[in-house]
């Protein structure tokens, strides 16, 4: 059995935005794999390893996460709040990726523990920069 590469989790309900992030990531780091969930409930299920995502071999804990704010069922803020209660994920960097450039949203996201607040659209340069900064900050997970 091959070891599952730790993926990047993208929580995004707009398939255009999924396309643009995939495209930017492919240019920046073609070696990284991306798993996409399209609403807040799926995101919580994945992070908690429940229901469809109970199999951690298939769905390993992500090494980092890109998170939209406006999502069906649970919004990005609620997901950030939920993450604070999971010790295993406390170290996982979360990058909010949103169309909102409102200070109110930015401040709230950072206060809830987001590592960075990125305004769409994502570019390859933007991704390289945040991936580098998170690699510097994180301990070596192999």
């Amino acid at each position: 059995m091959t070891a599952q590469r730790t993926p990047i989790l993208l929580v995004e309900d707009d398939d255009h935005d999924v396309f643009f992030l995939r495209r930017a990531l492919l240019k920046a780091r073609p070696d990284l794999s991306l798993h996409v969930v399209t609403d807040g409930e799926q995101a919580l299920d994945y992070l908690d390893g429940r229901r469809n995502y109970a199999d951690r071999t298939m769905y390993p804990l992500p090494s980092l996460m890109f998170l939209d704010l406006k999502l069906p069922y649970f919004n990005g803020f609620q997901i950030l709040e939920h993450l604070r209660g999971i010790p295993a994920l406390a170290e996982m960097p979360v990058f909010v990726l949103t169309s909102s450039s409102e200070d109110r949203d930015r401040n709230r996201a950072i206060a809830l523990g987001a590592k960075a607040y990125l305004v769409k659209p994502p570019t390859a340069e933007m991704l390289l920069q945040v991936l580098e900064s998170s690699a510097k900050g994180a301990s070596d997970t192999g």
Binding site: H16, D17, S100, K120, P121
Partner: protein
């Protein structure tokens, strides 16, 4: 005593009426002949008869009863609200032999009081209703602009994104014209996005909850200039006077207004001219007027009146990118803070000003 509007009655310690004036006749309906010699109980409704012994006890011990509000009964059986003042009556030796009672008809007063209270409650209720519907309207407005910022911009961003992707991935194959068209899609998308963002700024300024505090203008202007590379040499030169003063303002709204003025000042300049902007202020009584003076292309007098209106562009030239919202934001934010805005332009260069109350 005889002609007083109030009823003035005396009674002995057994509670028997001994004198009775015209006022008493008017208020209670009994003539003096009918009342004198009768127990005072004839004036007291059944459910209040316990009051009389208590009053007599107080009178016997020499105490006064002041402005005691109660209910009494007229000859015809109808009830009226009265205010009673009762004092002991003494004989020549100083012995208490009875009581004098002044009764004032306060039926009208009580009605007026109740009406006042009722309208007070009514008013309170109305204020509460209005406040809650206002809150609801504000919440809806916030929800609306949140949706605008997310939902309205998303398709524009997607169009731009795909046009850019085609340019990058297939630009070589589609030739000069094709690339040019795609670039136009991208530029139009950028313009649409800027419009949406500016409208959002306008609505934010228009509905922001204003909290006032003293704002040092020098510090604020400096902070703004530091945010914009286009306001620094070699692209522009902004000279700021040392003592701009301190105004009472809502910081975010004022910051938005000044930043729009400075952005305009460095933007609307002939292409071969380096923008030079001077920021200074003058005290005008309790007001401070902040001036932003530029060396730009100026504004024709016949355009100046509509300059601060929404969607007004007086330089539709492609060279000068604008949405026609910036100065409307300036006016909205300053006027909401109780201030004024204005401008002067004679040929070359413009001088814009905003005026706010000096901080005490």
């Amino acid at each position: 005593v005889e002609n007083s509007d109030d009823a003035i009655i005396t009674k002995n310690l057994d509670g028997i009426i001994t004198t009775w004036n015209k006022g008493a006749q008017r208020i209670f309906g009994y003539t003096a002949a009918e009342a004198v010699g009768k127990p005072v109980m004839i004036l007291i409704p059944e459910d209040r008869q316990h009051e009389e012994p208590a009053i007599l006890t107080r009178v016997r011990s020499g105490d006064r009863v002041d402005h005691y509000e109660t209910v009494r009964r007229r000859k015809d059986g109808t009830l009226l609200d009265v205010s009673l003042t009762i004092s002991p009556v003494r004989d020549q030796r100083g012995e208490i032999v009875g009581a004098s009672k002044i009764a004032r008809d306060i039926t009208e007063l009580r009605r007026a009081r109740e009406a006042l209270q009722e309208s007070h409650h009514e008013l309170e209720k109305r204020v509460m209703d209005r406040t809650s519907s206002l809150r609801e309207a504000i919440a809806q407005m916030e929800e609306f602009s949140y949706s605008v910022s997310h939902d309205l911009r998303a398709p524009v961003r997607a169009m731009q994104g795909y046009a850019k992707a085609v340019l990058e991935d297939y630009g070589e194959q589609i030739g000069e014209d094709g690339r040019n068209y795609l670039a136009r899609i991208v530029r139009s998308g950028e313009r649409m996005d800027r419009l949406v963002r500016d409208i959002l700024t306008y609505s934010r300024v228009a509905r922001a909850e204003l909290t006032f505090r003293p704002i040092a203008l020098n510090m604020l202007v400096e902070d703004i200039i530091n945010q914009y590379p286009e306001m620094h040499p070699p692209r522009a030169r902004i000279m700021v006077d040392q003592r701009l003063g301190t105004v009472s303002a809502h910081e975010a709204s004022l910051g938005q207004a000044i930043s729009n003025l400075l952005n305009n000042a460095v933007k609307f300049v002939a292409s071969d001219v380096t923008p030079e902007v001077r920021v200074y202020s003058e005290e005008r009584g309790e007001w401070i007027r902040l001036w932003v003076e530029d060396n730009g292309i100026g504004i024709r007098p016949d355009h100046q009146a509509r300059l601060f209106g929404l969607f007004q562009r007086v330089h539709p030239d492609k060279k000068y990118e604008g949405t026609g919202i910036g100065l409307a934001v300036v006016r909205k934010s300053i006027e909401r803070m109780g201030g004024r805005v204005g401008m002067e332009s004679k040929g070359a260069g413009s001088k814009f000003w905003i005026e706010l109350k000096r901080a005490l």
